[in-house]
Amino acid sequence: MNITELKRDEIAKVISLRKLNKKYTNRLMDIGIYESAEITLLKVLAMGRLYLLEVDDIEICIRFNDALLIEVVK
């Protein structure tokens, strides 16, 4: 499953970032979204365009298209 399939306030573990491009993956890793990181879906914003996540106490906003490519497991 991917991030967009999570429900609000659900916690999941990232299992793969393989589908994303390299530069973006590096950026995600830098701010705390890496394989095996725990994320919480806080909210879906801007009418489904943006996903607000929480990782290690930090709130991060990513786009729907990218959230679709981040594989997670509950």
Binding site: K22, N26, R49, D56, D66
Partner: protein, 699 residues
């Protein structure tokens, strides 16, 4: 001695920098606000300087501004590094720390936000951390500006020790790669540890190839490829970067577990943040709230009602006209200076500079309010609510921050685009931002609105601003459909918690802007006004002549016919636009100088030509500082040239359409034709007549 200050974005790095040094830098709550390198003296440490580097998560650059960090480490002269760390997000912050410690230069770890961590119920065992990481560490709370803490940091810096760089147990393929690259670097003379450089290259730090001219670059790249294959084939990790990252993460998890001590059970709630966010980022209310806030900001800066800025400007205007102009004129008469020199000083220099200086309060108030918005963390929310809307036109959600700064000044706005990681989206933003009406263009609108559209003040003002925004959006759409097609839409925005901005910092920011504005008025605009006055009073036949026979009239008169289709093909209007290229403020100064005061402008324009002139002036070629910034930020002559030609063409076409449309409208309504025209002339005469009377009366 020189120390580099490195740290993640949003760790209070700039606050620390401000409290430790003797002067301030711009402080923001938005990822990557500090985009320029700044150097200041360190307090309590004679002869030591601190260099503020842009916030970064990683030594490898991923945005334009982060390249500065790699560049500084590789090429600058320094004696040590101060690494500022957000204690409340220790694990993530330490990723950068590890990379700095691997470098093996003297490093001081400053664990900031001690209070916030304590409020969460934790403390950090700095002694233990210092021991494990083999570097000095102190815990502080930078925003308190505590003198003891400042002394403590200065003392630690004085006694900073040189350590052997930390070495982690990387997978064997990585270790092999480090050794191979290290060997390949043996002929290169470098100021940094070669093993560190090898590891950075393996990690994918492109900045190294960019900033260093390595003799065996090709071979090094092949080694990286080989290691990457080994990592994937041996199933160590999914990528080379991933393998290095995982080793660090495992090590850091242990470090954090060992050093982070829970002292109190506290349920730290994010209730407050979430409650505000529920309103401010609401799908329906988010955008209207943002517009309401902006309306408030503009009302306070420029409006009549509650308008602090506009009020102060009118006071300054009165003081300037009644005292400065009047008394200098009297003083000059008294000491016997008259004629040409008198005109040069009063009508050229003082009138030109004063015409601009009186707008200072409005601009300071605007910058103050924008700084408050940024300092609270609201700007990140604006990026969220505007992402969808701006995305439709090819912008990135983050473009909203530069766009808003663009209402102040285009130059910092273009610099602020450095936070947009995607190159195409960034260039697109840079090329369209000049259409946003900067504060320097405001005097042009104000003066023409006063003269011609006083009845519809707010309407015309809003219209001009909206026109700029519409042209910007449509241009962006046009670009994104053509050349910039398919630009990457990767977007990561860190949403910081709301903070109460520090008044001290915000006052300082507004003060800095005021200083810059006064400096500009005292140099650029002063010289511009004087030259303009001289050119318009000296001609082929001598000095002190009728301006119509002046050099300026000859030169500008040659170009003026280009503007005839727009309705203002006079040499005065043309020269004001040409001089506006130096700085947009000069447009008004030169109109005032060339037409001999506001009254003269009132006679020379009709409401229609006034409108086309204002529209043209609001959209045409950006000022010279902006053009220079476009050049330095895009690094491309092609884009710079485009950034000059495109706005000119757009401004010309829009003004032409307005001119023709209204002329056709008048022509079609033939019954109205004469009436409208005559009526307008009569009204004009009336207004102008009155103005001349009151002007003469005043002076």
């Amino acid at each position: 001695m020189i120390f580099l200050l490195a740290g993640n974005p949003n760790t209070g790095k700039s606050t620390f920098f401000n409290s430790m040094t003797q002067s301030h830098v711009h402080v923001g709550n938005y990822s990557g606000v500090t985009v320029e390198k700044r150097v200041h003296h360190i307090k309590n440490f004679e002869g030591a300087n601190l260099v503020d580097l842009p916030g970064t998560y990683n030594v490898s650059p991923s945005g334009e501004d982060e390249g500065v960090v790699t560049y500084s480490i590789l090429n600058e002269a320094y004696n040590g590094i101060i690494n500022i760390i957000d204690s409340t997000h220790l694990k993530r912050n330490l990723h950068l720390t590890i990379q700095l410690l691997e470098l093996g230069v003297p490093t001081l770890l400053v664990l900031n936000l001690k209070d916030a961590l304590k409020n969460n119920g934790y403390v950090i065992d700095t002694d233990k951390l210092s021991k494990i990481l083999n570097a000095n560490a102190v815990s502080i709370s930078a925003k308190d500006r505590n003198k003891d803490e400042q002394l403590l940091v200065a003392d630690e810096l004085k006694n900073i020790r040189t350590f052997k760089g930390i070495e982690l147990e990387y997978p064997s393929a990585v270790k092999w790669g480090i050794q191979r690259i290290h060997d390949l670097l043996r002929y290169d003379i470098l100021q940094v540890n070669k093993k560190w450089l090898a590891l950075q290259i393996l990690e994918g730090n492109q900045g190294i190839f960019q900033f260093l001219d390595l003799s065996k670059e090709e071979k090094i790249r092949n080694v990286v490829k080989e290691v990457e294959e080994r990592i994937v084939n041996e199933k160590v990790a999914l990528s080379l970067k991933g393998a290095i990252f995982n080793t660090r993460r495992e090590f850091l998890t242990k470090v954090v577990d060992d050093c982070m001590i829970k002292v109190e059970d506290k349920e730290h709630s994010k209730y407050f943040n979430q409650k505000i966010d529920r309103v401010l980022t609401h799908p329906a209310w988010g955008i209207p709230i943002f517009f309401m806030i902006m309306l408030g900001v503009y009302q306070i800066s420029f409006g009549n009602f509650l308008g602090v800025g506009a009020f102060l400007t009118s006071v300054l205007d009165y003081v300037w006209a009644e005292f400065v102009l009047n008394y200098s004129s009297i003083a000059l008469d008294f000491i016997g200076i008259s004629g040409f020199a008198h005109g040069l000083i009063v009508d050229g220099l003082l009138a030109g500079v004063g015409g601009i200086l009186i707008f200072l309060p409005q601009i300071v108030v605007l910058f103050f309010l924008l700084a408050v918005m940024e300092g609270t963390g609201y700007m990140a929310r604006v990026a969220i609510v505007m992402d969808r809307f701006l995305g439709r036109f090819g912008f990135n959600g983050k473009s909203i921050i530069p766009i808003i700064s663009g209402f102040g000044c285009t130059v910092p706005a273009i610099m602020a685009t450095r936070t947009i990681a995607d190159k195409k989206e960034r260039v697109l933003t840079i090329l369209t931002i000049p259409f946003v009406s900067c504060s320097a263009r405001l005097p042009i609108y104000v003066i023409f609105i006063n003269l011609f559209f006083n009845k519809y003040r707010a309407f015309v003002m809003l219209g001009i601003y909206l026109l700029g925004i519409i042209v910007m959006l449509l241009s962006a759409k046009l670009f994104s459909l053509t050349y910039f097609k398919g630009s990457g839409s990767n977007f990561i925005l860190e949403v910081p918690p709301y903070r109460i901005p520090q008044l001290r910092t915000i006052f300082y920011q507004a003060f800095e802007k005021a200083k810059r504005f006064i400096k500009k008025a005292g140099t650029f605009i002063l010289i511009g006004s004087v030259i303009l006055w001289l050119l318009s009073n000296i001609g082929p036949s001598g000095i002190d002549i009728n301006p119509d026979d002046s050099f300026l009239s000859v030169i500008a008169g040659f170009i003026a016919p280009i503007f005839s289709p727009l309705g203002f093909g006079t040499w005065q209007a043309t020269s004001s636009l040409i001089s506006g290229f130096l700085a947009k403020e000069i447009v008004v100064s030169s109109l005032v100088v060339l037409y001999g005061g506001e009254a003269g402008i009132g006679i020379a324009f009709t409401s229609l030509t006034a409108l086309t002139y204002v529209v043209f002036a609001s959209l045409y070629v950006p000022c010279i500082s902006t053009v220079a910034t476009i050049k330095s930020e895009t690094g491309s002559v092609k884009w710079t040239a485009f950034g000059v030609v495109y706005p000119f063409v757009v401004a010309y076409l829009v003004s032409l359409v307005i001119n023709l449309k209204i002329v056709i409208f008048i022509y079609k309504n033939t019954s109205l034709k004469m009436g409208f025209y005559l009526e307008e002339r009569i009204i004009m005469k009336y207004i102008v007549g009155n103005r001349i009377f009151s002007y003469n009366h005043n002076s």
